[in-house]
C-alpha cells in the first residue's frame, strides 16, 4: 500500500508543479459558462431553470480535457512500464492515477461550480446541493474516464475518440446529478435522497470497475 501512496503523492506533486492541466480545465469551465448567458440572452428565469444541467455538462467537458493525459505522459517517458512491473498491481496503479486526477481536477471543478452558478442565476437554495452532488459525482468522471484514457493511449488524436467512448458512460451520473440539484431547487426535497444515493452508488461502482478495466486495457497497450 505504501507504493500506492508514493505514486499518488508523485502524481499530485506533478499536477501542482506543472499546473497546466488544472488551469486549463478551470479556465475552460469558466469560459464555457461565461459564454452561455451571452448566447442565450438575459432571460434570468430561463438561465436559472437550466443552470444545473449547464453546470454539469460543462464540468464533464472540462474534466474530459485533462483525462487524455492520465496515462500518456507516463507512457511516453517509459514510467508506465516500470510502474507495471513495480510490484503494485496494475489495477492499483490505475486507481492511484484516477484518484490523483479526481483530487487535482474533479475537486477544483466542483468547488468552482457555485462561483459560476452566479453567472447563470442559479437558485440560492441549490448552492450547497450543487457542490455536494458534484463532489460525490465527479469520482465517476475520473474513474470511468481512466478506462477511456487507457484504451486510447496509443491512438493518434486519441482525445476525440476518448470523448466518444466515455461521454455515453457519464449519462447516468449526469441524469442523477441534475435530478438531485433540481429536486432541491423545486422544494421537492423528498426526491433528493433517491437521486443522491444513486449518484453515490454510480461513483462507487466506477471506483471498482474503472481500475479493473483500465488495467486490462493497459496490459494490451504495453505489448
Amino acid at each position: 500500500m505504501n507504493a500506492f501512496w508514493t505514486l499518488l503523492k508523485r502524481d499530485i506533486r506533478l499536477a501542482m508543479r506543472e499546473g497546466g492541466a488544472i488551469g486549463t480545465a478551470l479556465g475552460f469551465y469558466l469560459i464555457v459558462i461565461a459564454m452561455l448567458p451571452l448566447g442565450l440572452g438575459p432571460d434570468l428565469n430561463l438561465l436559472s431553470r437550466i443552470a444545473p444541467g449547464l453546470l454539469w455538462i460543462a464540468l464533464l467537458l472540462s474534466a474530459l480535457l485533462s483525462l487524455g493525459r492520465m496515462f500518456e505522459t507516463d507512457y511516453e517517458d517509459g514510467s508506465l512500464e516500470l510502474l507495471a512491473i513495480g510490484g503494485l498491481p496494475l489495477e492499483l496503479v490505475a486507481a492511484a492515477k484516477a484518484l490523483a486526477h479526481w483530487l487535482t481536477t474533479g475537486i477544483p471543478l466542483a468547488l468552482l461550480a457555485p462561483v459560476l452558478g452566479i453567472l447563470l442565476n442559479l437558485d440560492i437554495a441549490a448552492y450547497g446541493v450543487l457542490v455536494l452532488t458534484m463532489l460525490v459525482g465527479t469520482p465517476a468522471i475520473s474513474f470511468l474516464g481512466s478506462i477511456g484514457a487507457a484504451l486510447t493511449l496509443r491512438a493518434r488524436r486519441g482525445g476525440l475518440l476518448l470523448a466518444l467512448l466515455i461521454l455515453p458512460l457519464y449519462v447516468p451520473t449526469l441524469i442523477y446529478g441534475i435530478a438531485a440539484i433540481s429536486s432541491a431547487t423545486l422544494a421537492a426535497s423528498e426526491a433528493f435522497w433517491p437521486s443522491f444515493l444513486i449518484l453515490s452508488a454510480l461513483s462507487m461502482g466506477a471506483l471498482v470497475l474503472g481500475p479493473l478495466a483500465s488495467a486490462a486495457a493497459l496490459r494490451i497497450q504495453l505489448q
Partner: protein, 210 residues
C-alpha cells in the same frame, strides 16, 4: 538462480520474431544479446519481463520468488528512461526507491539514494529539474533505479545509448558488481561492455513472414 528459456516462440503481427529459442543464464553471469536490428532483442527482453505474451515455450526463473512474476523480480531498462522532467534529480530517484522497495527503512533508502547519486556522478545536479539534464545525464539518472532497489534479474535494452566512454565503464562496473553479488543480467547491446565471464547469445537476422 537461473533464468531458463525453453523453445520460446514469440509472434509480432504475422511475423514469428523469435522461433524455437532455448538458452539459460546462471546467476553470477552476464548474458549479452547481440544481433542485427530487427533480430528480436527488444522483443525477447520484453517477453521475459512479461509485457509481450509468448506463443509457445516456457520462461522460468529457478531459485526466484515463486509468488511473484518474473517482471516483479526484474529491473527493466528500456529505450525510455522513466524519469519525470518536472521532478528534480533526487526526487526522481527517491520516487523509484520508494515505489520499487516500499518496505525498506527510510534511513537506509536515503543512504542508498545518496550512494547512487555519488556513483553516477549526479550529486552536483541533485536539485536540478530533470528537464535540464543532457541525454547522457538522463540516461545515468534512469540507471540509478538499478542501485536503489534490489532485484535479482536485470534486463538491459541498449543501456549504453547516449552514454560517454567514462559512463559506459561506470555502467560496466555496476553490472559487474551486480553479478558478483549473485545477480543475473541479460543485456542487449552493440557495444562490448568489457565484462569478463559473460556469455553471448547471437539472435538471427530478420526472418521472412512465416
Amino acid at each position: 538462480m537461473q533464468l531458463t528459456i525453453d523453445q520460446l516462440a514469440v509472434r509480432r503481427g504475422s511475423r514469428l520474431v523469435i522461433d524455437d529459442l532455448s538458452f539459460s543464464a546462471k546467476a553470477g553471469q552476464a548474458l549479452l544479446l547481440t544481433g542485427p536490428n530487427g533480430a528480436g532483442k527488444t522483443t525477447l527482453l520484453r517477453t521475459i519481463v512479461g509485457f509481450i505474451a509468448h506463443e509457445r515455450g516456457t520462461i522460468s526463473l529457478e531459485g526466484g520468488d515463486d509468488e511473484r512474476e518474473i517482471g516483479e523480480q526484474s529491473h527493466y531498462v528500456g529505450h525510455a528512461n522513466g524519469i519525470k522532467s518536472g521532478l528534480s534529480v533526487s526526487e526522481n530517484l527517491t520516487f523509484w526507491a520508494e515505489y520499487l522497495a516500499p518496505d525498506a527503512a527510510r534511513t537506509e533508502q536515503r543512504d542508498r539514494i545518496f550512494e547512487a547519486l555519488e556513483r553516477l556522478n549526479l550529486v552536483s545536479l541533485e536539485d536540478i529539474p530533470a528537464a535540464y539534464l543532457s541525454a547522457g545525464q538522463k540516461r545515468r539518472l534512469g540507471l540509478g533505479r538499478l542501485l536503489v532497489a534490489d532485484r535479482p534479474l536485470w534486463l538491459l535494452d541498449e543501456p549504453t545509448v547516449s552514454l560517454d566512454t567514462a559512463s559506459v565503464a561506470l555502467l560496466a562496473g555496476i553490472v559487474k558488481d551486480h553479478i558478483a553479488g549473485g545477480g543475473l543480467a541479460v543485456a542487449a547491446t552493440h557495444i562490448p561492455l568489457g565484462l569478463e565471464d559473460s556469455a553471448e547469445l547471437r539472435l538471427g537476422a530478420a526472418r521472412a513472414p512465416a
